[in-house]
Assembly symmetry: C2
Homo-oligomer: 233 residues x 2
């Protein structure tokens, strides 16, 4: 098969995805829902951080979660045990969520207006970078056990992300990890990226993460209000 044909097929797939992502984004904007696409390699602590975040924020505003994994419904069960609605998507052989899957999951999940929607992607620092789900932004998580070189080795994901959460910082005393160098590497591929350091175990750094969410919820509402006003005028 020719290389040109493979490239064309990739373009077709991404074009179709982008159309469906635009539909998702329009729905989310109409409901003033802030959707965050959580991306990372396997085992960076996405679900543990999510459960803690839900515990701490669920009394402030409604939260819902779409969980992506190749197999198992473990994560959706953990999220439901934390007290918020969750839908699991199993991708089977697939290596990432796409906008089509997320659109259908939202139909089942029915997130409330002005809620916070977390989309936990398949643990994979490569493929999910290329797929817009209609989210407000990608939040890339990197645990301090993974090494500070990862932003340079997987630049697409760090380039595509708005926020970088450095996770498991309670383990910093036990691993070789240079936080300043990691931030420098991340800014080399994405000068505008914000980095926050958190530990779901100790709670260190979580207030700044929650402030970031609150600020973006306000922005989502304001941006939508501005769009609505412009459309209505």
């Amino acid at each position: 098969m020719s290389h040109a044909r493979i490239v064309q097929v990739e373009r077709d797939i991404l074009g179709e995805n982008d159309r469906l992502a635009a539909d998702n984004r329009a729905f989310l904007a109409s409901q003033r829902i802030l959707a965050l696409n959580l991306v990372s390699g396997p085992g960076s602590g996405k679900t543990t951080l999510l459960v803690r975040t839900i515990d701490d924020l669920k009394d402030r505003f409604p939260i819902a979660v779409i969980e992506g994994d190749q197999q198992t419904a473990f994560d959706a069960e953990r999220i439901r045990a934390a007290g918020v609605p969750s839908v699991q998507i199993n991708t089977g052989k697939g290596c990432h969520l796409d906008a089509h899957m997320v659109g259908h999951a939202m139909e089942r999940l029915r997130p409330q207006p002005q809620s916070l929607l977390f989309i936990e992607n398949v643990g994979n620092l490569v493929c999910p970078a290329a797929f817009d789900l209609g989210e407000a932004g990608k939040v890339v998580m990197l645990s301090v056990t993974e090494g500070e070189d990862k932003p340079l080795k997987y630049p697409d994901m760090f380039h595509a992300s708005t926020l970088m959460l450095l996770t498991k910082i309670d383990l910093l005393p036990h691993v070789p990890f240079d936080v300043d160098r990691c931030l420098e590497y991340a800014r080399r591929v994405n000068p505008g990226i914000t980095m926050l350091q958190v530990s779901a175990l100790s709670g260190e750094g979580l207030p700044a993460w929650y402030d970031w969410i609150e600020q973006n919820r306000l922005n989502a509402g304001a941006a939508t209000a501005a769009v609505s006003a412009a459309q209505g005028s």
Copy 2:
């Protein structure tokens, strides 16, 4: 684009890959080279374990390494600093090595007869599972910081692997990780899988890993010798 067309394209790509993998395998067998395809998520400690392994084994037999990453030549430089030849493959947007890339890398690397060839794949627990590179076996690494549920969440990779190396076991006192449950999960998707526990930092468990390599080097030589004798008769 139709789903059927996507599936057909996937089959074409995998079919082409399998033909090239068979070429690689024939070359490796003719030279009695044991090739191991090292797969894992990002940051599981593949390169650190490799450097330690090279240090400990390079006086026993020749070793060469093919390094895969989306970007950077960091890992190939680390390997060369350890004193053995290495070729870096940068996959760019790509999420895995394929047999075509590995074939060309072997032409540049020219691994010696009866040597050990490590192929360090892109850090990704999903996509590399589907691509045969012509290796003798896949060795999947999982660090104890990633959680014991990973074999069930990423079953294709654990199903495709011959050996599972549980890495960073020096961190077991600092993280919640159930070794027995992890092994049970791995055997649920691959009853024949072998698990070894190692720490590149403390050296714990490395002798068993080296014994496993030695045994497979002997097997590779014996299998090839048997094939040669049969063809020559």
